[in-house]
């Protein structure tokens, strides 16, 4: 039996979604002419400003598209479900948002994305657009920071890059700030039930009816431990402990929090998780500067959640607090 989805043809799901996105958000988003999978901010790119291009596979909405807008990303290249976009739409975004000050590519650390964005960067260089790249590597399910996957932490790294660029900082500066933001971003996920791709409509992994998997990736890649479903507090403790082990926070430090649904875990559960996250932060004497709870980086209809902590100095806090106005997100 196929999984249930409200779609037409699975192969057309991404393009039809995009049509719906453009119809809903004409004040924020437009397509690059002749490149239907390249979306740029109506208000954002401007002469002298570093252009921020994000992108990746579809199925993580509102990541990446939803973060395009004034004060955040200028352009987004849209891939197939769970598949990096090819170089062409990335290049078209880079051209469309280039204000002469260079372009920063920001995306999650996956082999496919790296290959495609790197190819696009080479092509952009041939068009005399200077491109730098900062990968988001926030998923502490992997030990080695440089090899970590990019998951919900894109929220903070994109926000930092978008703010820095909006402040008309140089490409060097924007890159430096985004690297710092990424260094200070730590995520951990838990999955309770699989998603399924529009084309296969088959659960993309199996999990027992009473099981959960800690550390599962946002494409259903296996995580770090699988076990019986525990209570919210136990789950959060396990996740937060793993984050703290990598982050090594000290009393008095300031953090921002993101409790994110992987798709079908509702706000009630996320807020119950946030209650415990806050208790743990308070217990350590950390100052919670801001909290977001909701669907920010999903995995189609996967059940589960992720917790991201973002440690801030004064500069990163300034980036986080700077107003932005995107298709599916607003802050400041």
């Amino acid at each position: 039996m196929q999984t249930k989805k409200i779609i037409n043809d699975g192969n057309k799901a991404v393009d039809e979604m995009l049509d719906g996105v453009l119809a809903a958000h004409p004040k924020h988003l437009k397509r690059v002419e002749g490149s239907p999978r390249s979306v740029v901010a109506v208000d954002g790119p401007r002469p002298g400003k570093v252009g921020i291009v994000v992108g990746g596979g579809s199925g993580h909405e509102p990541t990446f598209l939803g973060f395009v807008g004034k004060g955040l990303a200028d352009g987004c290249a849209v891939g197939n479900v769970f598949a990096s976009p090819p170089p062409d739409p990335i290049l078209e975004c880079a051209k469309a948002v280039d204000g002469g000050a260079g372009v920063l590519f920001q995306y999650g650390n996956y082999a496919g994305d790296v290959m495609n964005f790197d190819m696009a960067a080479e092509m952009a260089a041939m068009d005399d657009i200077e491109v730098r790249t900062v990968l988001t590597t926030d998923d502490v399910a992997t030990k080695d920071k440089a090899k970590r996957r990019g998951v919900a932490g894109n929220f903070f790294t994109f926000k930092a890059g978008g703010a820095a660029a909006d402040m008309m900082k140089s490409l060097d500066e924007v890159e430096r700030i985004v690297r710092k933001a990424n260094d200070q971003t730590f995520s951990m996920g838990v999955a309770l039930a699989p998603c399924s791709l529009p084309q296969t409509r088959t659960p993309n992994f199996e999990l027992g009816p009473d099981e959960m998997e800690i550390g599962m990736g946002i494409h259903g890649e296996p995580g770090v431990t699988r076990g019986k479903l525990k209570s919210a507090d136990e789950i959060v403790d396990d996740m937060v402990d793993r984050i703290f082990a990598e982050m090594a926070p000290s009393r008095g430090e300031r953090v921002a929090v993101l409790v994110n649904s992987l798709g079908s875990t509702p706000l009630m559960e996320l807020y119950i998780m946030n209650r415990r996250v806050r208790q743990r932060l308070d217990d350590l004497g950390l100052e919670t500067h801001a909290t977001w709870v909701g669907n920010y980086c999903t995995s189609l209809e996967m059940a589960g959640a992720s917790i991201t902590l973002h440690r801030m100095d004064g500069e990163l806090q300034e980036m986080l607090d700077r107003p932005c106005d995107c298709a599916m997100f607003r802050a400041g």
Partner: protein, 208 residues
């Protein structure tokens, strides 16, 4: 005689093969990756087939493979896109200017394709990727080149299958499965599995 028309047919034959095996490839990818490898390969070779079918008589073998490369890449992205696009472009470059391909040309093309995948993805043997099918296939074809095209490509296909099989005993250290470590053991790499299918489809189409 292997000319542009045969190469077009070859692309079509690969596309048909992958289309049939799509679900199996997605299932393999579901275990250690993100369950979309069959989709990516079928979209890619499907687009490549449609594009090369659209070429007119004047297209030479290089043009066929370059067209396949570009359409594959634009239809897919993902990991498979750059890897197969690079393979096909390198294959195209290796036969530049030739209207018909001799055995040596086909083997050189196969080797250029494998080299292209390696240059693009930077994977070594034993890292549990499609390289574990493509490199042995390219070597085997080279070693059997004196026995004629059919034997060379049979050797390549057998080596690719053995290589794919061998990925079961490897711990991934490239691609999406890299972070699984030991948990990737026991499962065939989907990219290696599809590589074996692609190479067998090439063999069949170029020698049958």
């Amino acid at each position: 005689m292997i000319d542009a028309a045969r190469l077009k047919a070859m692309v079509g034959h690969i596309a048909d093969t992958i289309e049939r095996e799509k679900d199996r490839l997605c299932a393999l990818d579901g275990v250690i990756g993100d369950a979309d490898h069959g989709i990516a390969m079928s979209l890619g070779f499907g687009a490549a087939r449609d594009a090369v079918e659209g070429l007119d008589e004047t297209a030479d073998p290089t043009m066929v493979l370059n067209t396949a490369a570009k359409s594959f890449l634009n239809a897919v992205g993902a990991s498979s896109g750059p890897l197969y696009a690079t393979a096909l472009m390198r294959g195209a470059a290796s036969i530049k200017g030739k209207a018909e391909l001799a055995t040596e040309d086909v083997v050189a093309m196969l080797q250029a394709m494998a080299k292209g995948i390696q240059d693009r993805g930077k994977a070594e043997l034993g890292e549990k990727t499609m390289i574990d099918a493509w490199l042995p296939a390219a070597s085997a074809a080279g070693e059997a080149i004196s026995q004629g095209l059919a034997r060379a490509l049979s050797a390549a296909s057998e080596a690719a299958h053995a290589g794919a099989e061998a990925t079961k005993n490897m711990v991934a250290s490239k691609g999406r499965a890299e972070r699984l470590g030991e948990r990737s053991l026991g499962h065939m790499d989907p990219g290696a599995a599809s590589a074996a299918m692609v190479i067998e489809a090439m063999r069949k189409s170029l020698t049958d």
